[in-house]
Structures are given as structure tokens and as C-alpha cells.
């Protein structure tokens, strides 16, 4: 099968634009990136489905002229799910503005704490030093 070069390039370009946006910090920009990349991936399905053809409607297009219906069904569900996900993400961005006044995805505070521990060469909170040596001190019924 000889693939469609134009569609493949368009898909790759959209994915590239999407990746550039996804590696941002602003959640609404990440969201735009997901949407652009999503469109690119949907176009990939067209590349995979082969040669263009008539609509897959029995009685309208003869069988041999028909475009492949299966990728179309995949893309149809993908489009609608993308809408729902995008709406959820944009609501998260809104909520972030509501609470913090910005929608930047902050670095994890807990991870920063662990980094600080590592710099100081310290053990975590879960480490408890045991002390029940034989000094005669009654540590057992502490």
C-alpha cells in the first residue's frame, strides 16, 4: 500500500505543534496542545485507512470505491471523547485560576522535599532508629 504523503506530513506537523505546547507549564496551553496533537493523530487514521474513496454507505458507493469504514468508527469515538476530556481540562484550568490566580502546573511539593532530604543526605520520615541495647535502661516499656 502506498501511503498518502501529504496527510502523513500534516499529521506529523500537528503532533509537533502539540508537543511544543504540551511541554508548557500553563494548563490551558497544555490543553491546546492536546487538542492540536489530537487532530494530528486523527489524521494518522486517514493515512492508515488507505486510499480515499466514497462514503461507506451501501447503495451509494459501490463496494470497491468505498473508503475504509473501520478507522472512521475509531476516529468518531475519539473526537467525542476528546471533547469531553478537553472540557474537563479547561474546567481544571478555570478552577486553578479560581484558587490560585494562575493555571501553571506547579512542581510537586513533596518531591521537592525529598530532594532537599537527598541534598542533606538524610533519611526519610519513615525511618525510625531502633534503640533497645543492653544499657539496662528500660526502653521496652517506654
Amino acid at each position: 500500500m502506498s501511503p498518502n504523503l501529504t496527510l502523513a506530513i500534516v499529521a506529523g506537523a500537528l503532533v509537533a505543534c502539540g508537543v511544543y505546547l504540551i511541554t508548557e507549564r500553563s494548563l490551558s496551553r497544555i490543553l491546546m496542545g492536546v487538542m492540536v496533537a489530537g487532530n494530528g493523530v486523527n489524521i494518522l487514521f486517514l493515512v492508515a485507512s488507505g486510499r480515499a474513496g466514497g462514503p461507506p454507505l451501501i447503495g451509494v458507493t459501490p463496494k470497491e470505491d468505498m473508503s475504509d469504514p473501520l478507522p472512521q468508527a475509531f476516529v468518531l469515538t475519539a473526537i467525542v471523547i476528546a471533547l469531553a476530556t478537553a472540557a474537563f481540562l479547561v474546567t481544571m484550568a478555570y478552577r486553578s485560576f479560581q484558587l490560585n490566580g494562575h493555571d501553571e502546573v506547579a512542581d510537586d511539593v513533596e518531591d521537592a522535599r525529598i530532594r532537599a532530604l537527598a541534598l542533606a543526605d538524610e533519611a526519610s520520615d519513615s525511618f525510625e532508629e531502633i534503640r533497645f541495647s543492653d544499657t539496662g535502661v528500660d526502653v521496652v516499656s517506654e
Binding site: C17, S28, F97, E122
Partner: protein
Amino acid sequence: MVSAIIVAHLAVAMCAPMLSSRLGARGYLVMAAAPTVAFGWLLTLAPSMTAGGTYTESFTWIARLGVGIDYRIGMLQWLLALIVSGVGALVLIYCRWYFAEAPNQRPMGLLTAFAAAMLGLVTVDNLVVLYLFWELTTVFSYLLIGYDPTRRANRSAALTALIVTTTGGLAMLVGIVTLGVLSGTLSLSAILDAPPNGPLATTAALLMLVGALSKSALVPFHFWLPGAMAAPTPISAYLHAAAMVKAGVYLVAALAPAFATVPFWRPAVGVLGAATMIVGGWRALRQNDLKLLLAYGTVSQLGFLVLLSGFGTRAAALAGVAMLTAHALFKSTLFLVVGVVDHSAGTRDLTRLTGLARAMPLVAVIGGIGAASMAGLPPTLGFIAKESALEALTYLVEYHGDGTGLTPALAVCLLAAVVLGSMLTVAYSLRWWWGAFADKRDVTAPEVHRPSMGFVAAPTLLAAASLAGGFVGPPLTTLFETYATTVPGGHESHGLALWHGLTVPLGLSLLAIGLGAVLFWQRDAIASAQATFPVVKGSDELYNETMRRLDVLAVEVTARTQRGSLASYTAIVLAVVVLLAGGALLWTVHWPASVRAYDYLPQMLVGALIVVAGVLAATSRGRVRALLLVGVTGYGTAVLFLMHGGPDLALTQVLVETVALIVFVMVLRRLPKYFTTRPLGSMRWWRIVLALCVGLTVTLLALVAAGARVAQPVSVDYYEAAYSFGYGKNIVNVTLVDTRAWDTIGEIAVLVVAATGVASLIFLRSRVQRVRGREGDPAFGARGMWLRASGALDPGSRSLIFEVVTRILFTVMMLVSVYLLLAGHNAPGGGFAGGMVAGIALMLRYLAAGRRELDEAAPFDAGRLLGLGLALSVLAAVTPALLGGKIFQSYDITLVIPGWEYLQTPFGTWTLFGEMHLVSSTIFDVGVYLIVIGVVLDLTRSLGAGIDIQSEQDQAPVPQPESTRARPAADVSPTGSPTGPVGRAVP
């Protein structure tokens, strides 16, 4: 029968939570029934055991791996099982008083389950199952030591015991597997009958020894046992004196007849055993806590036991078994007595106890018997056992190694070490009894209340057994001989008896007793001498340091791998895509032979437009501008879909893009105009490189993957199948509602979840939105207005033309949506497209006349539509199965209305209804339709109406001029129902 008894233990243990809430501590008496039954049954085996017989029982489990639940009870197993169940029953009875006022009864079920595991451990023959029981005892011990998880002592002691004993256990597992592979069987008895040899077998045997030593707390693993004394006293008595720590001794005793001769076995057993005996005894001398004193004493005795049972001479084996029995009896007695003292006097610190012998004479006598047996004073079982032990060791000197190859000097050293250990034992036994019961000057007597008879019953019985045991030496000898004779080398012991005449062992005994008494008498001098000893870094320090380093390492690794930045995580994921998939592209030879530049020339034009829009969207700094450019890529994609031959796709994409644009604009009105004003950092160039690499990889991958395709697409059969099974002409729609309906049902579930998520993020408290009617609301205009709720809007924000158009369009759009839904099976359309059109119609009403108009158009909660749609879809899926078909099977129902098919007119025959085909999968599509409407309605209610209300109530963010930030909402409490504020404003 063993299996039945173990299962019965576990069944009783399961009832413990229920029993303890009904009966409180009395539930322990019920628990005690299980080990009592076990003890009774074991007694019935006595005739067979004394005759040297064995009891076997087996069940197939994992036959292919040679793992079966096989029990094999010989003399050694029988003795240990008797100890485990007998002491277990008594301890459980004792618990009824000990835990009478305890805050929790957790030990009830755990102790019983532990007894089951312990019984299994000492009776099972298959080594893998033995390991299973071994680790079960470890786990139960962990849970029992951690009796009170709020205390640091309990927590760290439980964890230490767990880590140390499982580490040893793992070594043992390696040994078990090696032995199993070498000898081709996992049966302990079979391996002992024909032990494998060679360096590998030696290693395996030594690894099993490591497991046994860690479990029995020998040097260098000894430090976990004193810590485990943080557990309540009955638990210490059972686990850490009578039962669990004996598991190691049992294993050593079981293996010694076959493996004592392997290299390093005897040196390890001898050196570590003697060292443990002396270290434990020495440390016991300086403890003030009675229980801790016993714990160190136990460490000492365990060293002695392992030394005897592992040395592999006949006399030592006999002494080992006798000593094991004696130790189980006297040590549990002593622990239980400490529990009684602790309960009655409120302390077990020997510097604060005085005069207890007069306050509780019976307990003092019981404790005295126990201590005498521990010290090896006649006429107790402890005395005769120690006599036989000393005899076995004198044999090593007398018979030049007694078949072990031990040199005379080493034999004397060993004997001296044991006599020294015995001396220390005598000293700390005296110290224990003196500490608990004797009168001391300068100590105020604690307030003592007498223990009840039941409380003292268990230690009384155990002490009686210790005492009686001293007088039944000869029959015990006969009994234990059946085990001792399995040991190949060494001279026969003279047996257990109170009087053998004036022998060397008796002299050594007297020496130990005498010197021990001196040690006790000079205890103050000894204590001050001990204080001058340098502090040595023990293996507990080593353990601590190891654990700390491990934790620090974990922190290091986490800090390096878990950066906590979303951008870096996505970048790593994408870089992996480039490296792996892109790397595969470098190696592949399957490049397509040819490519088509395009299917139609306009594809290139549309494609170029999309790419330009995408690049501009990626670089634009304005939110709305970026959104519109993203919209251009979406609409452009729809055009590509149409050109490719997917009218359904194009239609749905256009509708989805429209809904997305409206939804985003509704949110973006409350967000700042620009994303960023920051100068672009160096990271930007890395991001561009990554983006280009990923894009290139995707393009090339698409070309290679599509070009490599040689097979027919699976959808080739859809053409016939769509009509013959799905009764539809639109193959895409039939795929959605029939062929791949499982996909669709998953998808609509995602839609419901996402819509619920959006509503929850806006309304926080509840996803149900109360919809207000218009009754008595002056905001509503009279009949005949274009849109009746538009009166609620600020006149300045009304648009009459928009209202008129909406009024006209709404009905048309609703009709179109129903048409799309019904026609979708045979022509472009379907539930998704239809639902989107209806949803846009509802959005239009909101946009034209505000949220009251939306309530007017859809006077119900969106959740109901979602639920109804989901229910309908599931019903459509399941009903065929109820009718005897398959899930999601489609039926074609032909409907003819007689007399209405055709209309005869003067101009010919017109088709009126004709022959109608109703396909059952349409019902599924109706469910999809309702859900899509529900989702759009939910989005409009939340992001349109909900944000309106939040703006009015100062709950929405306020974009700052000339900034990429907004002022956070002043009030972030949950928003009321969308119509709430209006209701408050208008009384």
C-alpha cells in the same frame, strides 16, 4: 487430622473479632479449645510414638512442582507439637485474665492463628510448605509485637523482628530450593534419608542454618529478641520463649542427623551457640526489667539449645531434646509469672519491687520452681536436662571428640564455655527471683492486689510439669532415645536421671551453681565492673546503620528519578518515543516502495492551512487567538475527513469543534488575555527540538507502518455484514452501534464521567443542579415574547436579532437532530451527530437569553439525561441476551400500518409510511443521543450558567489588566444551584 486441626484453629481465629465484641476477654477461653483439641489428639498418638512409629498424612497441592501438603510426625515433631499446643492452650487461658481490661483484643485471633501456623511448621514434611508456615509465624509475630502501633517501641521492634527473620528465611528458601533440586524431592524425611553431598549441598545446608539461627535469635541476629519484649507478656511467653524461637532449634535438630558432618556446620553451631550463651547470660545480669532479663536469658538458652541439638552426637541430641522441653516449660512459667507480678504490683522493674513473696506466696513458689529449673537445681527437669548436656560435652573430651573430630583442646574450651554459661544462668536466675519476690531495703513496697486463681492456673500447671519432669527421667529417656538414635555418631548417653552417682557432670553442675551463687552474691561488684566495660558496636548498630543507609539510598533514588515536574515527565515519555520508535526506523528495511503525494490536490491546500494554523496556535500568546487557531485546525481536519470519504466523521468533527469553541469561550471570558509575558528561556529551544523530533518520528512511522501493510483490512467483510446482521446501510454507524458496540458503551461511560467531573469542579458540593421554574417570577416576560427568559438579562446585553433567530432556529435544529438520529443507520448521521445538534440548539438558547432561558429550554438536571441514556444503552445491549440472542444482537422489526402504507391520489400512488424497518440497535443509538445531549447541557450549565453565578457572587477569578495572572476568587465555598443567586436577588 492435622489438616483438620489446623483449619479448625484458623476457623476459630476468624471468629475472634466477633467473639471479642460479644464476650470480651472471655473469648480467649473459646480460642483455647483449638490447641486443647490438638493436644488431646497428639496424646492419642503416644503409644505409636513411644514405639518409634510415625504418623503421616498427605494432600496433593501443586503436584507438578512436587509441593504437597504432607504431614509426617515422628518423635521430634510430636514433642514440639505437644509443646506448641499445650503451652498454646495454657497461654490462651491465661490471656483471659491478662487482657481482661485491655483496650483491644487483637491478640485473640492472631495468637490462635499463630498456633495453627506453628503446629503446621513442626509437623509438615514438605520443605516448601514448611517455609510457608515458617513465614506465617513471622508475619503473625510481626502483628503481635506491633500490638500497640502507637508506641514507637512496638513499631520498631515488630519491624526489626520481621526484617531480621525474613532475611534469614529467604536464605533458608534458597537452601530449600537447592536441596530440592539436588535430591529431586522436597520431602524433609526423604532428604534426611538420603542427604545429597558436594559443595552445593553444603552451601544449601548452611543457608538453612542461617534461617534457623535468625529465627532463634543467635548471635549475630540476637538483637531482635529483647526488642520483641515490647509485645504483651503472654505473647512473649508463647512466641519468644516456648514456640516461635524454637522453630530454629527444631530445624537444627531435624537437620543435624544428616547434615552435622558438612563442613562449617559444627564450627558455626559450636562457636555461635557458645557465644550466644555467654553474651545473653552476661547481659541478662544487668537488666532491671524482669521481662528483659528473661529475654536475654532466652537468648542465652537458645544458644545452648542450638549448640546441643546441632552438634550431632547421640548424647548431645538426647540432651538437646530434653533441654528444649525443659526450657519451654520453665521459660513460659517465668514469663507468665512476670505477667502476674506486673498486673498485681503495677511494675516489673526489680528496683521497685519488694516483699512480694509474702504478699503472693503461691506465685513466689511457682516462680521459684521455674527459676530453679532454669538454673538447673535439683530436682527439676532443668537439672536432669543440664546434667545430660554436661555429660554429652564431657564425652567430647573423654572420647576424643566423640566421633566429631573435635580436638581435645577445643573440646575443653567448649565445655568451659558451657560451664561459664551455666554459671551465668544460675546468677541471673537468682537475680530474677530475688528481683521479683525478695525483700529489699530502701524500697517502698508497691501496692499489691492478689491475682485471681484462674490467672495463676496456667503458670502453676507449667511449673508442676517442670517439677514432675525431674522425677520421670528414665521414661523420658526411652522416649527421646527414639530421636537420639537417628544421629549416626557418638556414644550412648547414660540417660536422664536425678542421680547417676558422683560423676564429672555432677561436679561441673555444682561448680556452676556455686560460682553462680557467688556471682549473685557479689552482684554490686559485678555491676560496677560491667559498667567499666567499653561499649562495643554490636550487630544491632550494624542493623540500624544498614537500615538508615537503605533509606538514604531510597531518598537519593527518588530525588533523582522523581523530579515532580509534569513538563519533564512528558518530555521523558516523548523522548523515549523518539528514541525507541525513531531508533526502530533507523534499522528498518521496510520502507514503502512508493508514496502518493495526495489523493486530491485540495488536500495539500487544506493541509497547508492546517499546518500554518497549528504553528501559529503554538506560538500565539493570546488565549482567544490560540483557541481560534486550534479551531481552524479542527475544521480543516473535518474537511480532510470529508475529502477522504467520511461524511459522518466530517459532520461530527464540525459539530464537536463548534461545541468546543463555545465551551472554551465561556471559560476564557474569566481568564487573562495572555498566556505569558515571560521572556522565552533556553528551554524553548529544547522544546522545539523535541517537538520536531516527535513530529518527524510520527510522519515517518505513519509512512512505514501504512506502507508495510500487505493484508486485507479487517473491515473488508463489513460491507456484507453491515446489512445482513446490522440491517443498516451506513457502515460506520452500524460499526458503532452493533459491530463494535462494546467500544461505544465504554466511550459513553467516559462521557458521563467527564461531564460529571466538570460539573463537580464547578459546583463542588453536588453534581445535581436544581432547576427553577418560572412560576411567579417577574423576570419572565409575557407569552409571545421571542425568548421568555430574556427579561432576566441586562437590557444592554440583549440582542433582538439573536433572540429572533434563536427562536426560529431552535425548533428546526431539534427536528434536524431527530432526523440525524433516525436516519443515521442508513445515511450520514447517528446518535453522536444528532445529540451534538440538539446540544448546540440548547447552547444557542443560553447564549441568546442567559441561564434562565436554558432552564426554560431544558427544565431538568443534565444528570437525568445521562443516567437515562446510559440505562437505555445498557438495556439495548442486554435485552437480546434475555431473549435468547447475544448481547448487542440487532433485530429488524418490520412495521406496516394497514391502510397507511400508500396514498392513492389522482396523480399516482404516493408512499405514505410504506414498509417501515425499525432496527433494534436504534434504541442503543437513542441512548448515545441522550448522553451526548446531557453532556453538552452539563457543560453549558456548569461553564456557562455556573460561571455566571460565580461571577455574580465574587467566586470567579478576576483577570488582572496587563498581567497573565488573575485575582483568585474571594470566596471559594461551593456554589449553590445555578438559579440560586437570582432567587436571592429577587424576593
